[in-house]
Amino acid sequence: MPHTPARPSRVSRRRFLAGTGAAIGAATLGRAPAVIGQQVRELQVWHTEVEPQTVKVIQDTSIAEFERKFPGFKVRQQALGWGDLNTKLLASLSAGSPPDLTHLNPFMTASLYTKNLLRPMDELIRSIGESDIHEATRKLQYFDGKYYGVTHAMGATYFCERRDLRVKKGLKVPETYDDMLKLCAALTEDGRQAFQMPGEKLYMGFVHPAEWMAGNGGSWVDAKTWRPQLNSKSMLETLDYLQKLNKFQSQGWSGQKYLDTQAALATGKIAMSYLSGARAIGYIEKYAPEGMRDPEHFMPMLRPHGPSGKVGISALDGENWAVFSQSKYPNEAFEFLRLFYKKEHYLQYCHSVPIHLTPIFTSMLNDPAYLANERIKKWKAWHEVLLAGLRGNRFLPLGFTRPEDNLLPFLAELDGSSIVADMVVEVMVGGKNPKAEADRAQKRAEELLTQLGHKRWS
């Protein structure tokens, strides 16, 4: 067959490129006036409530009303887990473009306040009812006579126990470390472990150690000199207790997560999950055997105290809203918060994860409208535990060993450093000598605080 040469293209490559470029340019310019004219202003709101129903409630209530009131604004909410939020916040702060409004862990707030990164919000606090905010949270972000944050909701953390198993053994809720060890020994049987602790550093290396210190008469640092107290009597007694306690849990716990512990509890592999909150009710209702999905079988249990403490302390899970000094739209952020705390919006928000999102307003804690929720009615006993804990001063914010810890500007760094987590893991899992590990952690913590410029001791 004769070879037929390819027909030369009528459009040269240069012409093709020029034509395409012109077409793209025309299309872009054609759209430009509309784009330029719109001037969409975005209010960036970051928070830690990741459950879809909570995100939807915020969207349908506060955001919908805000966008109606401020037509030029769009609110963009981003729900992030704790760990993700901290990392993302730090990145945005270093880039100089933080969100307009965000949740913060209380232990981070002091650190940011001392760096002049937060705006006061006294006017907002007064407008939503300063005196009605529960005292357990009201002044957590109160520095130099001004408010720099307001808690979004209160949720207690505690053990979640298989109440039926404990009652069958004829044992009471443990008051002391010794009681707890006896309970664990009694509940370990038939291939079931007594309890499981979450392996995440934030919990086993910061939140729980703070509870242990607080529940055994100790604190992170000396109140005056800020010298770390990681090898104090309080911590040494606790480490000794932890080493004994570790025998009653799965040996792989340090590689597992909080959600693994909830699943293990709901499916009967353990008798107590070390860290729980009312969020666990969702797991219980979904995964526990039928006929056991009730407070007769699953109940919260507050922490025991150590030999040097008087009362067990649990962490109060309640991030605070904060507005950055670099926020693009601070006034609008405060307006958004006013709408967030508007009663009809706030009730729906709290009902999106009942009991875990307990209102911060004292007047609402026993408000029939709040208690009318079906899940709260069924799990009222859990709500009662929270109220009892609040009455008995059994709660401190996450990572706090005493109320004044809100003034420590280095708790975020201490948490991030893994110093405490390493000590706990080495003692509990590695079976190392508590005193040696505590001394090592103490040395590292002293070095860290010195490097950060917070050394006040000589």
Binding site: G255, A263, E413
Partner: protein, 291 residues
């Protein structure tokens, strides 16, 4: 002549700008940053000279991380070669389904790291993992093994990494195998060489250059590997037992919030790799390898 030189420089300019902006500047900036006490997100810094380097020289955490990083990089590199080279030799043979198998063997390398790690975490979980289920079913263990606990976390990390990265060795080595002239094997066979001797005297010398590159690249990549390590243990309690240098550098920068110290660790790692590479070249680079 001058005009052509100018044109040459102009043509080179985009590459120089790219390399300068994306490689040289970040490295130099990092070195500069390592000389400061710089908070991770606050615009405050103080010049401290070589203080961070002196600190790390006696920092037990640094040396522990260096040890874990070396164990991880060394073990994974040896095992990747141990699995990858035989796999490539096998895939170089003719058999039914070879092409399909060549595609399948690439699978672990193609999937995102997060997927690979989640998969292995699920397999190795001591509560509901398949590995323990099979081991207990076969009567090999009585109680579930805590693969993700302190005793086995390094082994689990190594297995995960070898599974994920050995296909790189397979593909690279196989590509070189396919270019070896078959006459060499025919001649060796005629001379009565066994399969082992053909491998030692024909295959190995022919593939020495590609092995050199594989060892170099994989060592560097495994020593600086961050994602797999981080995703397996995250910042969990057990992470203490696989805290390699990149993870420690990340922690110093983004959780201790000491960006200057994090930068110093990065410079130390860079220097270590540079030195190791230089030694490696000096020891093994021979003209015949690249001829």
């Amino acid at each position: 002549m001058r005009k052509s030189a100018l044109v040459g420089w102009l043509l080179l300019a985009p590459s120089l700008v790219l390399l300068g902006g994306l490689v040289v500047f970040p490295v130099l900036y990092n070195v500069w940053l390592s000389l400061f006490d710089k908070h991770a997100f606050m615009p405050v810094q103080a010049f401290v000279g070589l203080r961070h380097y002196r600190y790390f020289a006696s920092d037990p955490e640094f040396w522990t991380s260096f040890y874990y990083g070396s164990v991880y990089a060394g073990a994974t590199m040896v095992l990747q070669l141990g699995v990858g080279v035989p796999a490539a030799l096998l895939l170089n043979e003719g058999f039914r389904g070879r092409n399909l198998l060549r595609g399948v063997v690439l699978f672990p390398y193609m999937i995102p790291t997060i997927v690979a790690v989640i998969l292995w975490k699920w397999l190795l979980n001591d509560s509901y993992g398949l590995v323990n289920h099979l081991l207990m079913g076969a009567g090999l263990v009585r109680a579930p093994v805590a693969w993700l606990g302190p005793d086995y976390i390094m082994a689990s990390l190594i297995v995960t990494s070898v599974w994920q990265f050995f296909p790189f060795v397979v593909v690279t080595y196989l590509a070189r195998l396919q270019t070896i002239p078959p006459e060499l094997y025919e001649a060796a066979t005629v001379d009565g060489a066994s399969a082992w001797r053909r491998f030692v005297h024909v295959t190995l010398p022919q593939t020495a250059s590609v092995l050199f590159v594989i060892v170099l690249l994989r060592s560097i990549w495994m020593f600086t590997k961050f994602d797999t390590v981080w995703l397996l243990a995250g910042d969990g309690g057990v992470s203490r037992y696989i805290r390699t240098l990149p993870v420690y550098a990340y922690a110093r920068s983004f959780t201790y919030l000491q960006a200057g110290m994090g930068a110093a660790l990065a410079v130390i790692m860079f220097t270590m790799l540079l030195a190791a590479t230089a030694v490696y070249f000096r020891m093994f680079r021979r003209d015949e390898v690249f001829s």
